[in-house]
């Protein structure tokens, strides 16, 4: 059964999403801005064009599953959830205030977040289990998991990749946010990953690599992977820029951990506003 995508009416304008992230980060005086900015376009395309939530209910039994395994990018997901009406403006304005719900990393007790992440390498396996469940039930539900490139240092990712391929979970798609950085430096310097697409293909995935900030490219690649007749799980490697959208943050890994002050907040907002 195909459900209407309630999200179709939503714009998921990437400028607006980035502004929400900046507003949250400034309100909460928090970190991980760069981690959120690299996945803005990926999430915009997923929520706008692909994820199905019957009745716009984030916990609908027959929903598609979207697992943000790289929980560090959760502000990007909050921004989308705000657009969907799953979060209120106050939740954004009061980010990190005492007694509030939204945490700095993905927490599954929030409707709309499927896993508790931040300890990396968990969401991939949970996603494989969700996809396996859908397959066992002969359901059309699809599972998308977004992982970071640094995150795939974690062993369970590869355990899950073997399992997904062996069990032909063609309803499973991993999207790798290849922004080239992890907490302490570039992936080339910390743990060289080589060709992520080749690695996943070797594990039995049908894979493609695209510009992770080109919404049409992301959308087309996802459609093409689903249209494939193969029974393989799918992988989309998204080449992204950590901190994308704010020039002074782009490929500048200090924005993994740096907090905004009034001056950098204003400059960042202006940069997002002025970007094409």
């Amino acid at each position: 059964m195909v459900y209407p995508m309630s999200s179709q009416v939503k714009a998921f304008d990437t400028k607006a999403l980035r502004k929400t992230v900046l507003n949250m980060a400034y309100a909460g005086s928090t970190v991980h801005i760069g981690c959120a900015f690299s996945i803005i376009e990926i999430l915009a395309v997923l929520y706008r064009n692909h994820l199905r939530y019957p009745n716009n209910d984030p916990r609908a039994f027959e929903r598609d599953y979207f697992v943000l395994s790289k929980g560090h990018g959760v502000m990007a997901q909050y921004a989308c959830m705000l657009e969907l009406g799953w979060l209120k403006d106050e939740a954004i304005a009061q980010y990190f205030a005492d007694g509030t719900e939204l945490k700095g990393l993905s927490d599954s007790r929030i409707a709309g977040l499927e896993v508790t992440s931040g300890s990396l390498g968990h969401g991939f396996s949970v996603g494989v289990g969700l996809a396996l469940g859908a397959k066992l039930r002969n359901s059309e539900q699809k599972t998308y998991v977004v992982v970071g490139d640094g995150e795939i240092n974690e062993g369970p990712i590869w355990e899950g990749a073997l399992f997904a391929a062996h069990h032909q979970l063609k309803n499973f798609m991993v999207i790798v946010d290849e922004n080239g950085y992890q907490a302490m430096g570039s992936t080339h310097d910390v743990i060289e990953l080589g060709s992520i697409q080749s690695k996943l293909e070797t594990f039995g995935f049908e894979a493609a690599t695209i510009d992770g900030h080109n919404e049409d490219a992301i959308d087309n690649a996802i459609k093409q992977l689903w249209e494939s007749t193969s029974t393989s799980p799918k992988a989309l490697v998204a080449k992204t820029i950590k901190g994308k959208g704010v020039p002074f943050m782009e490929n500048n890994n200090i924005w993994h951990y740096t907090r905004l002050d009034s001056e950098t907040y204003s400059r960042a907002m202006s940069a997002v506003e002025g970007s094409s």
Binding site: S119, F124, S125, G129, L136, E159
Partner: protein, 305 residues
């Protein structure tokens, strides 16, 4: 005991098609019946425990009722973080079976011996810990674990120590069962798993007025009952095939110290790894858990003030 486990598993899987069994490539012969009766509900997740537990969380989130089976050295110890974050935090109904707890794999060494599993899990909220003593408690615990619709770790230790019950007990979660009635006072034994039978044998022979209690639940455990036992005792002897740090002995001592202080002897695995290879009986002796060593320790403890 393993037959009782297999029977219960098959029974639940046949009654509920949402039950799925995940095994980390373990359970040789144990799952023959299950695979014959419910082949579509059997998933060998390979030698990949972390992924297996994550998947179980996903399956539970999708409405399934996963049983996750492994040796207790791996399930739960290798996957404590997956149990904490993916399962317990979400209050998902995943049942973990840790088989071969204690020194069952006596000849294989430390990698396969499991004497810290309870301690590793006790501090995780929204997770219960069951530790049945015989085949009847296994049946009752399997049913309660399924009915609880919550996350449970079920610890299965040495399976051939003999029965402690004559039929399946009518159990309530958290309850301790008096398996050898005494005069209600003086010395009370509280034991779990493989050492319940040992406690009964020692009490029957040496302390005929003592009561012996089986504790099939480490968490939750009935505080009122433990307090009541402690209040009427001159001394309490706790026995378990688990480290003395963080197991049943710790549970009883924590409760008693707050609610009803009494002298407690914690008999369990000392804070050290096994040194030698040998039979199960040999390993028990190495760790002071053979009958003679236990009797001596109890004697010394009761003699001392």
């Amino acid at each position: 005991m393993r037959d009782a486990f297999s029977d219960a598993l098959v029974r639940h899987a046949k009654a509920d098609p949402g039950v799925v069994l995940l095994t980390g490539d373990h359970g040789y012969a144990l799952f023959d019946d299950f695979r014959k009766e419910c082949p579509k509900q059997y998933i060998n997740a390979g030698i990949a425990e972390q992924n297996m537990v994550g998947m179980a969380a996903g399956l539970a989130r999708a409405g399934f009722r996963p049983f996750v089976y492994g040796l207790s050295a791996f399930i739960p110890v290798r996957v404590v973080e997956q149990i904490k974050l993916d399962v317990a935090h979400d209050q998902l109904p995943v049942i973990f079976i840790g088989d071969g707890a204690g020194f069952v794999y006596s000849h294989l060494g430390t990698s396969h011996q499991s004497t810290e599993d309870i301690a590793c899990l006790r501090a995780i909220p929204d997770l219960s810990i069951y530790s049945p003593a015989d085949r009847f408690e296994v049946s009752a615990c399997m049913d309660l674990a399924y009915q609880s619709n919550s996350a449970v770790y079920l610890r299965m230790g040495k399976s051939d120590r003999g029965d402690v019950h004559s039929n399946i007990p009518n159990l309530t979660i958290g309850e301790l069962l008096e398996v050898l009635p005494g005069n209600g006072g003086d010395v009370n034994f509280i034991a779990t798993g493989s050492l319940v039978r040992t406690a009964m044998d020692i009490a029957a022979r040496k302390y005929p007025t003592a009561s012996v209690w089986s504790a099939p639940f480490i968490k939750p455990i009935d505080y009122t009952q433990v307090t009541s036992i402690c209040r009427r005792s001159r001394a309490v002897i706790v026995l378990e095939e688990h480290s003395v740090q963080g197991g049943l002995g710790s549970v009883v001592a924590e409760i008693a110290s707050e609610l009803s202080p009494v002298r407690i002897l914690r008999i369990g695995v000392p804070d050290r790894f096994s040194q030698h290879c040998g039979t199960y009986e040999y390993l028990l002796k190495e760790h002071g858990l053979d009958h003679m060593s236990i009797e001596q320790r109890i004697h010394d403890f009761l003699e001392a003030n």
